[in-house]
């Protein structure tokens, strides 16, 4: 009984902190999403689920959800593949490994707004290096629907692959060396070793990296805000950009909160999927 009480005492500060910084804002956002709160209209009143029923009929929301989902799927998949390749490279015993590990982290260390501005210049149709290298002067990457979203994915991949590589590297290093030694004794080819040992043993770490990245990508904002601001024709508008515009540019806090809560629910689903994937992978 005493230990139990002591345990509660020790946990209480953490619980309190969680309640203040996590639970309260979520509850407040949900409560706000049940209101019509538009500054210009001087309108503050309870409207029940009106915002939510509008959300279900709002084509712009579904389009934003589509863009976000596509962004998450493609960006995370590419990041995992590239990240694994980098992790293998860093795990090997090449010379100058320390330098390489530091160098790989550079994109991760640069603030997204700065790197996105950098990429905007690279994509510039007149002076951009990328358009120059592609040899296509009359293609405007950020101004063409479909292509613009992929251009944003490239920026995200460039920036966060180092993070994935680092997480996977930690996973690689936790695989015991004697398993590999046994494989060598049995005369396994390098690719066989990778298929039969590295990949299965790394799977739990892959699941962790994928979950972290997906949760981060679902609320992608800064890169797109700098590159296209949701344009052309809202084809790069993600949930966060739509929520931001609704709330802070238009002053519609009720519907903006609804969009934020919807984004939160999407993240919750991803977290659930991630945790169950992790459980299955480690079994």
């Amino acid at each position: 009984m005493t230990t139990r009480r002591a345990a509660i005492g020790f946990v209480a500060p953490a619980l309190l902190a969680m309640a203040v910084v996590a639970a309260y804002p979520i509850v407040a956002a949900v409560w706000l999403s049940l209101h019509r709160e538009i500054l210009v209209f001087r309108d503050h009143r309870f409207v029940g689920f009106a915002n939510w029923s509008f959300l279900l009929r709002d084509g712009r929301f579904w389009a934003a959800l589509g863009h976000t989902t596509y962004f998450v799927l493609v960006a995370v998949a590419v990041e995992l593949v590239l990240g694994l390749a980098f992790a293998m490279l860093l795990h090997g015993r090449a010379r100058g490994r320390g330098m390489l590990r530091a160098a790989v982290l550079v994109p991760w260390a640069v603030p997204t707004v700065v790197s996105a501005k950098l990429w905007a210049w690279l994509y510039d149709p007149n002076h951009g290096l990328i358009t120059h290298l592609l040899g296509v002067r009359e293609v405007n990457l950020l101004g063409t629907p479909v292509i613009a979203l992929h251009a944003a994915i490239v920026v995200d991949v460039w920036k966060t692959t180092p993070f994935v590589a680092l997480v996977l590297l930690a996973g690689l290093q936790s695989i015991p060396e004697d398993v590999y030694r046994a494989a060598r004794v049995d005369g396994a080819a390098p690719f066989q070793t990778f298929r039969a040992i590295t990949l299965p043993l790394l799977l739990p770490t892959v699941a962790v990296a994928a979950t972290f990245r997906a949760l981060d990508a679902v609320r992608v904002f800064d890169a797109i805000f700098v590159l296209t601001d949701g344009g052309p024709a809202n084809t790069t508008e993600t949930l966060s950009i739509y929520a931001y515009k609704t709330m802070l540019r238009l002053g519609d806090f009720g519907y903006g909160a609804t969009l934020s809560v919807a984004t939160f629910l999407v993240a919750l689903v991803i977290a659930g999927l991630g945790i169950s994937a992790q459980r299955r992978a480690s079994r």
């Binding site: 500054l39 210009v40 209209f41 001087r42 712009r60 510039d124 149709p125 007149n126 002076h127 009359e138 293609v139 405007n140 950020l142 101004g143 063409t144 629907p145 613009a148 296209t228 601001d229 949701g230 344009g231 052309p232 024709a233 809202n234 084809t235 515009k245 802070l248 540019r249 238009l250 002053g251 519609d252």
Partner: protein
């Protein structure tokens, strides 16, 4: 016990010191007057001198000038949170399109008593006066004004006056075609309205904002065809003012739609003397209607009575004839006062005077920011060729009517 006592005394002392500090700060702030303004590019001294003049004339109040972001939508967001949250601001700059919104929201003070409509109509250019008048009251004082203009490389072609002339000149040009602002943002709405007005289209039908009209469909088909047919480079679909200016300055375009600030910039490049600034074109060749921009000085509705005379004096001082002359001469900001356009010492203004007389405002409505958000998406769809103009415009009209219905 003694230790505890000392600690308590220390704590009490600290709290007292803190509250004393806070008290002093509050007292100081009560005697201060906070001005929010954008940084004016170039030499900071002349603007500083303007503020110092006010300080000398009003020693009873401490003028605090704070720089805020110059991008219109970023500033709008900043003001939204500052004004709603009761932040510290007395006089601030407001974009031409915000006055009705801020008036309705109750964020800005009615200054009809200090600046009656009759006086505004007499002293300021018509379009600038229209900007600050809403519901028959005065809500701000015009500061400097802005209008969309056409720049032409005169060593390549004569300035066109019609849309057909513009297309022909761009096709004949050996240095590239026509650049305009086609990125999904407020600037695209300005560009689109200029073409719609050039085709004779209307903006309002009574209190209803109309965009799905025959003229608008024709106008935007024309705008889309510029990009589709290569009269304008594909780059315009993501270009803002600065992208256009850089393209034009580097000799890759013969024609450019932009604001007057680019004129001052162009005088510092090798293109000096080879560029003309004229009114935007129209279908029939009559002087086109440039989109009206510009900034106003507004007073926060929270300004207490004792401070109001100081705030009014500051607005009057910054928008005075002498101050506007400094802004025009040093910073290239077109004045809003009529008299300055007759000043022979400022030759650029003689070019701008007729253009500003023809300028038209975007729809005057408290819901304009919401309407613009709808328009930006649909206009971007037209320019980048995703949707046909008639489809995009009918979508826009439906959304705008829904917004208006909500407001009723």
């Amino acid at each position: 016990m003694a230790r505890l006592g000392r600690r308590a005394a220390l704590g009490l002392g600290a709290a007292l010191a803190l509250s004393a500090c806070r008290g002093r700060r509050r007292l100081r702030e009560e005697r201060s007057l906070v001005l929010l303004h954008q940084p004016l590019w170039g030499d900071v001294a002349p603007f500083g001198a303007l503020l110092d003049e006010f300080r000398r004339a009003h020693p009873d109040v401490r003028l605090v000038a704070r720089a805020v972001p110059s991008a219109s939508d970023v500033l709008h967001q900043y003001l939204l949170t500052t004004l709603e949250g009761g932040g510290e601001v007395d006089v601030f700059v407001a974009d031409a399109i915000w006055v009705p919104e801020f008036a309705r929201t109750g964020w800005i003070a009615d200054v009809s008593a200090e600046f009656p409509e009759r006086e505004l109509r007499r002293d300021f250019v018509g379009a600038a006066a229209d900007t600050v008048l809403f519901d028959g009251r005065t809500w701000a004082l015009p500061w400097w004004t802005d209008v969309g203009v056409l720049y032409t490389r005169t060593d390549v072609t004569d300035p066109p006056h019609t849309f057909d002339g513009l297309v022909a000149a761009a096709r004949r040009s050996r240095v590239g075609g026509y650049v305009f602002q086609g990125r999904q943002y407020e600037g695209l709405v300005c560009n689109a309205y200029e073409v719609i007005w050039g085709f004779g289209g209307a903006t309002m039908d009574g209190a209803r904002i109309v965009v799905d009209t025959k003229e608008a469909r024709e106008a935007l088909s024309f705008l889309a065809s510029l990009v589709r047919d290569g009269v304008s480079p594909r780059a315009v679909t993501s270009a803002g003012e600065e992208e256009c200016r850089r393209t034009f300055e580097s000799g890759r375009a013969a024609l450019m739609r932009n604001w007057p600030y680019a004129w001052a910039e162009l005088q510092r490049t090798p293109l000096r003397g080879r560029v003309a600034m004229t009114a935007v074109p129209s279908r029939d060749g009559s002087a086109g209607h440039g989109c009206l921009g510009g900034w106003q000085l507004a007073m926060s509705a929270r300004v207490p009575a004792w401070k109001r005379p100081f705030a009014t004096a500051l607005m009057r001082h910054l928008s005075s004839h002498a101050a506007q002359e400094t802004l025009a001469r040093v910073y290239g900001r077109p004045p809003s006062r009529r008299a300055l356009y007759e000043n022979p010492a400022l030759p650029t203004l003689a070019l701008l005077a007729p253009i500003i007389e023809h300028a038209r405002p975007r729809p005057v409505s408290p819901w304009y920011p919401r309407v613009s958000d709808v328009l930006q998406g649909e206009l971007s769809a037209i320019v980048s060729g995703i949707r046909a103009p008639h489809e995009a415009l009918s979508r826009a009209q439906r959304q705008i009517d829904r917004l208006a219905g909500e407001s009723a």
